[in-house]
C-alpha cells in the first residue's frame, strides 16, 4: 500500500497556501487557512477532522464552487492550470467534464422526478454530444461497472425506488461517466448502514485501480479512512495539522489531534467496565474567534506555554510527512494512554441488580398506511414490530442494534407511548403502559423520558435553552418555583454546559451541545428509564464519545435504566449490559453483551459484526456481504425473517417455520442451526 504512493503518477490537483473566507451578513469566517496539498492520479487522499474543520469547504475550492462573495487567496492548480483565474464558462466545463462529486445524501443529489436513465444520459448528451442510443449503452455499461446487477431495471427506476446503497452507486456511476480526473467524495457513506458502507468502500477502491482516478475522500470516520485511503490529511479548525501516509498516520501519529481522534473510537475490544473512552475536551473553536498560537492548544493534553505564544507552521519531518505540532516528537501513544488512564480513572462498577423495571411481552406494532376519506379498501399493514419480548433491569442498560428499518426506533417510541400498541403488553415498574402518552399520569411521564436522534429537530428553534429546560421542571413538579433557576444551573452543569448557555437559541449551539441540552431535558424529570434513540449517530466521533461518557455518568449519578438504540455495534457493546439484535421487526439474538459479542452468534449478528470497519489499515477482516436489502415489512418473509439474505441458510425449513429459541444461560438465539454447530463454525472461521 505504501508503495502505491511512489508509483502513482502525476499530480492532478495542487493547492498552495489556499485561504478561504466566507463573508456573511453578521460575521466573516476564515473557513480554511493556508492549506497546501497535492493529490496524484490513482490515489485516494483522505481528509479527516470533526465537522466545522473546513474539509468540505476545501474540497469545494477544487472546483471553486463557493458562495458569492467568498474571499479566496493562494493557488489551486488543476492539471497544471490555475483555476482561480478561470472564467465562469471555463469553470462550468471543468466542473462537468474533469471533476465529479459524490455527496453524503444520495437522495438529495438525485432528481426525484426523472428516472435514472434520463439523469445519467443527460450528462452525456450535454457534455459529449452523443446520440441517445449510444448514451443508453454507456450508462448501462457504467452501472454494471459499479456492480449493479440489474442495470436495465435500475435505469428505468426513479430514485425513491432504489435503496440508499443503490442510489449511492448510481451517483458514483454518474460521477464516473465522463471519466473525471478528480473525484470528490464528501462523506459518501455516512448515511448508510455498515453492510452497505462496506460494499460502497470496496467499490471505490476497485474503481480507483480501474480508472486511475484521483479521489479526494472526506470523512469523519477513521475506520473508513484506514480501509480506503493511501494518504491522509488531518484538518482542524480550517488548518491542516498533519499529513502522512495512512500506515504512518495510524501507527505513529505526529500530532496530538490525530492521536486524540484515534483514541475516540469505541472499538469492539473495549467495554465500559475495563476501558473508559477518551474524548477530546472542549470543541472546535468558532472560526470567527480563533485562539492565539496553535489553534488546537486549548484542547491539547500535551500543550505547553509556547503553544499559545507562537503560531506553528506546517513543517516537513521527513518520509513525506508534515505536522503542525511544535512538539511532534513527544506525541507518543503510550505516554498518551497513560495520561488518559490517570485522567479518566472513573471506573463504573454497576452491580447488576436483577430487579425488572420494564417488561415487554410479545409486543406488536402495526401501522395502517394513510388512507383518505374516500379511498376504497384497506391497504396492508406495515408490521414495524412483530412480537418481541425483553426486560430491562433497574439501573441496567439494554442496547438494541440492527440495520435501519428493523423496528428499533418504533420499539422505543411505543414504550414512550408515542405509537399505539397493536397487541402485547408493556409493564413499567408495575404499571401497565398500554395507553398513549396523552393519557398517562404525570408520575409515569416523569419516570420515562426519551433522548432523540436528530439534534436539529430535538429542540424548538424558537426557544432558549432555559425555556426548554424550565417546562419539564415545572410540569413534572420536580422542584418548587423558587428553586427552578438553581435546578436549571445544575442540569446544565450535569451536561458540562455553563450558565452562559441559558439564553442561547438552538441555532447558536453545535450538534453536540444541542444533544446535551436534550439529554438535560430528559433528565430534568428525574426519570427511572431513559430511552435513547440513536442519540449520537449524527455527531462527530470526538463529540460522540463525550456524549457517551456523559450518558454513562448521568446514568450512574441519577441511577437510571437506559434503552440505548444504535446501529453502531461498537457503541452498543461499550454501553450495554444486555444486547438485543433486531431484524425486520423481530429479535434474532438477545443476551448479555459479552455473550452476544462472542460466538455463537445469530448469522445476522455475525454479518453485522464482520461489517464494522476497524480503524487499523494493517488488519484485513474476513467480511460477510449480505445480499440485497431489507425486505418490506408489509409482507415479511415467512419462517425465519432473515432467510432471504442469510449466508448460512440450511434449506426449506428456514422458509417455512419460525426459528426456535435456543437458550443458554439467558443468551437466546433464534435460529434453526443447532447451537453447537453455530459455535464451531464461527470459532474456526475467526
Amino acid at each position: 500500500m505504501g508503495e502505491n504512493r511512489r508509483q502513482s503518477g502525476m499530480p492532478v490537483i495542487e493547492m498552495k497556501n489556499l485561504g478561504i473566507e466566507y463573508v456573511g451578513a453578521f460575521t466573516r469566517t476564515p473557513a480554511v487557512r493556508n492549506l497546501s496539498l497535492t493529490i496524484h492520479t490513482g490515489e485516494v487522499y483522505g481528509l479527516v477532522g470533526e465537522s466545522g474543520c473546513g474539509k468540505t469547504t476545501a474540497a469545494m475550492a477544487c472546483v471553486r464552487y463557493l458562495p458569492k462573495g467568498t474571499l479566496l487567496t493562494g493557488e489551486v492548480i488543476f492539471l497544471g492550470k490555475s483555476i482561480l483565474g478561470l472564467s465562469d464558462s471555463e469553470l462550468r466545463h471543468l466542473r462537468g467534464n474533469r471533476v465529479a462529486m459524490v455527496y453524503q445524501d444520495p437522495l438529495a443529489a438525485l432528481n426525484p422526478s426523472l428516472n435514472i436513465e434520463s439523469q445519467m444520459a443527460e450528462i452525456l448528451t450535454t457534455h459529449e454530444h452523443i446520440s441517445a442510443r449510444a448514451a443508453h449503452e454507456l450508462c448501462r455499461e457504467m452501472l454494471e461497472r459499479v456492480r449493479i446487477g440489474d442495470a436495465e431495471r435500475v435505469m428505468r427506476s426513479y430514485p425513491h425506488q432504489l435503496s440508499g446503497g443503490m442510489q449511492q452507486r448510481v451517483l458514483i456511476a454518474m460521477a464516473l461517466l465522463l471519466k473525471p480526473a478528480l473525484l470528490i467524495m464528501d462523506e459518501p457513506t455516512t448515511g448508510l448502514d455498515v453492510t452497505i458502507e462496506a460494499a460502497v468502500l470496496d467499490l471505490v477502491d476497485d474503481l480507483r485501480r480501474e480508472f486511475n482516478t484521483a479521489i479526494l475522500f472526506i470523512s469523519h470516520n477513521l475506520g473508513v479512512i484506514a480501509r480506503l485511503c493511501q494518504r491522509v490529511g488531518v484538518m482542524y479548525a480550517g488548518e491542516m495539522v498533519e499529513e502522512a501516509s495512512v500506515e504512518q498516520l495510524f501507527k505513529s501519529p505526529r500530532h496530538p489531534y490525530t492521536l486524540a481522534l484515534l483514541r475516540c473510537i469505541p472499538s469492539l475490544g473495549t467495554d465500559k467496565r475495563t476501558h473508559s473512552l477518551w474524548s477530546i475536551p472542549g470543541r472546535v473553536p468558532p472560526l470567527s474567534s480563533l485562539p492565539p498560537g496553535c489553534v488546537f492548544a486549548p484542547r491539547c493534553p500535551l500543550a505547553q506555554p509556547q503553544c499559545t505564544e507562537h503560531t506553528p507552521e506546517l513543517q516537513d519531518i521527513g518520509q513525506g510527512r508534515r505536522t503542525r505540532c511544535m512538539f511532534y516528537d513527544q506525541v507518543d501513544p503510550v505516554a498518551f494512554d497513560a495520561y488518559l488512564g490517570e485522567r479518566m480513572a472513573t471506573q463504573r462498577q454497576a452491580e447488576t441488580e436483577h430487579e425488572r423495571l420494564l417488561t415487554v411481552r410479545d409486543l406488536k406494532v402495526y401501522f395502517q398506511p394513510a388512507s383518505g376519506l374516500f379511498s376504497i379498501g384497506k391497504r396492508p399493514m406495515i408490521k414495524a414490530v412483530d412480537g418481541i419480548s425483553f426486560d430491562i433491569a433497574r439501573s441496567g442498560t439494554l442496547g438494541i442494534a440492527g440495520e435501519s428499518g428493523c423496528g428499533k426506533s418504533t420499539t422505543a417510541r411505543t414504550v414512550a407511548g408515542l405509537n399505539p400498541i397493536t397487541s402485547g403488553t408493556i409493564t413499567f415498574a408495575g404499571h401497565d403502559l398500554n395507553q398513549p402518552v396523552q393519557k398517562r399520569p404525570r408520575s409515569i411521564l416523569s419516570q420515562l423520558q426519551m433522548v432523540f436522534q436528530n439534534p436539529d429537530s430535538t429542540l424548538n428553534p424558537q426557544k432558549t435553552v432555559e425555556q426548554e429546560l424550565l417546562r419539564p421542571l415545572r410540569l413534572l413538579g420536580v422542584v418548587k418555583r423558587e428553586q427552578e433557576s438553581e435546578a436549571i444551573s445544575q442540569l446544565l452543569k450535569a451536561v458540562n454546559l455553563d450558565d452562559t448557555y441559558r439564553q442561547r437559541y438552538p441555532a447558536q449551539l453545535s450538534g453536540g451541545e444541542k444533544q446535551r441540552v436534550a439529554i438535560a431535558r430528559a433528565f430534568a424529570g428525574r426519570p427511572k428509564l431513559v430511552l435513547c434513540d440513536e442519540p449520537i449517530s449524527s455527531l462527530d466521533v470526538s463529540v460522540q464519545s463525550t456524549i457517551l461518557n456523559l450518558l454513562l455518568r448521568l446514568q450512574q449519578d441519577y441511577d437510571v435504566a437506559m434503552m440505548f438504540i444504535s446501529h453502531d455495534l461498537g457503541v452498543v457493546r461499550y454501553l450495554s449490559d444486555n444486547v438485543a439484535i433486531m431484524y425486520l421487526g423481530t429479535i434474532c439474538e438477545l443476551g448479555r453483551a459479552d455473550q452476544v459479542f462472542t460466538p455463537p452468534h445469530h448469522p445476522y449478528s455475525e454479518a453485522l459484526l464482520s461489517a464494522i470497519p476497524i480503524p487499523d489499515p494493517t488488519v484485513r477482516q474476513a467480511r460477510i456481504r449480505l445480499q440485497g436489502s431489507v425486505p418490506s415489512p408489509t409482507n415479511p418473509p415467512s419462517g425465519c425473517r432473515f432467510h432471504t439474505r442469510c449466508p448460512r441458510k440450511v434449506g426449506a425449513i428456514c422458509e417455512q417455520t419460525p426459528p426456535p429459541a435456543q437458550e443458554r444461560e439467558g443468551h437466546i438465539i433464534y435460529c434453526h442451526i443447532p447451537w453447537e454447530e453455530l459455535k464451531s463454525a464461527q470459532t474456526t472461521q475467526a
Binding site: 466573516r28 476564515p30 470567527s288 376519506l373 407511548g417 402518552v437 411521564l445 417546562r471 447558536q508
Partner: protein, 293 residues
C-alpha cells in the same frame, strides 16, 4: 520556506452574542431594499391617512368648488363630479383601504390558524371533514364568494371585513395545516408530549412560533390581494356605502368621465396600485430576509 500565512485572524471580529431568530430576521429585513421600500410607502400612506384630511379646510362631503375643477394650489388633486376635494377624499379613503383589508386578513389569520393547527395536529376524521369543506370553499371564485356574502349580509365596512376574512380563511388554514403536519413529527413535539404538555400548549407554544414567519409573508401577500378585493367590491358598488370615499367606488364614479377629467379615477387608481405594490414588495423582502425557512 513557507510563505506568509494569510492575515485571516486580524480580520476576525468577536463572536456575535446570542440573538433570537426573530431579531436576526428583523435586522435582515431592515437591510433589504425591497422590504424597506415597501415599508416606506406603507408608512407614507399611514401618515397621509392620519393627517391628510386635516390639511384642507373641507370635509370629504363638502361641496367645495365647481365640479371637475382641475388640480391647482387650492385643490391639489382637483374636485370630483359633485365638487368635492379629491385630495381629502383620497387620503380619507386611505383610512378605509388600510384598515379594512388588514383587519380582514388578521381575522382570517386568526381563524385559519385555529382551523389549520387543529386539523394538522390532530388529523383523523376532523381533518378529513374540515379539509373537504375548505376544498369546497376554495372551488368558488373568490370574488363570487365575496358577492354572495355581501348580498346576504348587506354592504358596510364591517361586512366587507367579514366577507374578506371568510374568503381568506381557507387558504390560510391550508398553509397552516401543511406546516403543522411537518412540525408535529419533529422530535421537540414528541418531547413536549412526553412531559405531559396539553394539545393547546403544543399547538400555540411549540408549533405556532415556528410557522409565524411563513404566515407573516403569506399575510402580506393576502393584504395586497384584499386591498384589490375591497377595491373591486367598491367599484361594483358593494363596498362601504357613499358618501364615504372608497377608492374602488371613486374609480367607478370617475370612470364615465375619464376622457374629460382623467384625474378623477386616476388618483384612487394610483393609490390602490401603490399600496398593493408596497405590500407585495414587503412580502418579497420578508421572504428574502429568511422569514420562510
Amino acid at each position: 520556506m513557507e510563505s506568509v500565512s494569510i492575515p485571516a485572524r486580524t480580520l476576525v471580529r468577536p463572536a456575535p452574542r446570542p440573538m433570537s431568530l426573530t431579531r436576526q430576521r428583523i435586522i435582515l429585513t431592515l437591510r433589504n431594499p425591497m422590504a424597506v421600500l415597501g415599508i416606506v410607502i406603507i408608512v407614507i400612506w399611514i401618515v397621509l391617512a392620519i393627517i391628510g384630511p386635516r390639511l384642507r379646510p373641507y370635509s370629504y362631503t363638502d361641496f367645495a368648488a365647481k365640479p371637475w375643477t382641475s388640480p391647482s394650489a387650492a385643490f391639489w388633486l382637483g374636485t370630483d363630479a359633485l365638487g368635492r376635494d379629491l385630495f381629502v377624499r383620497v387620503t380619507m379613503g386611505a383610512r378605509l383601504a388600510l384598515v379594512v383589508p388588514t383587519t380582514a386578513v388578521a381575522l382570517g389569520v386568526l381563524l385559519g390558524s385555529i382551523v389549520g393547527l387543529a386539523t394538522g395536529y390532530y388529523g383523523g376524521l376532523l381533518d378529513d371533514i374540515v379539509m373537504r369543506l375548505i376544498d369546497v370553499m376554495m372551488a368558488f371564485p373568490m370574488l363570487m364568494l365575496y358577492l354572495l356574502i355581501i348580498y346576504a349580509i348587506g354592504p358596510s365596512a364591517i361586512n366587507v371585513i367579514i366577507a374578506v376574512a371568510i374568503g381568506s380563511t381557507p387558504g390560510i388554514a391550508r398553509l397552516v395545516r401543511s406546516l403543522t403536519i411537518d412540525l408535529r413529527t419533529r422530535e421537540f413535539v414528541a418531547a413536549a408530549q412526553l412531559r405531559g404538555e396539553s394539545g393547546w400548549y403544543i399547538m400555540l407554544r411549540e408549533i405556532l412560533p415556528n410557522i409565524s414567519g411563513p404566515l407573516l409573508v403569506d399575510a402580506c401577500v393576502r393584504v395586497a390581494y384584499a386591498i384589490f378585493a375591497t377595491g373591486s367590491l367598491g367599484f361594483l358598488g358593494l363596498g362601504v356605502p357613499p358618501p364615504f370615499p372608497d377608492w374602488g367606488q371613486m374609480i367607478g364614479e370617475g370612470r364615465g368621465w375619464v376622457l374629460m377629467v382623467p384625474w378623477a379615477p386616476l388618483w384612487p387608481l394610483i393609490a390602490i396600485s401603490s399600496v398593493v405594490i408596497a405590500f407585495n414588495l414587503l412580502a418579497d423582502g420578508l421572504r428574502r430576509a429568511g422569514w420562510v425557512d
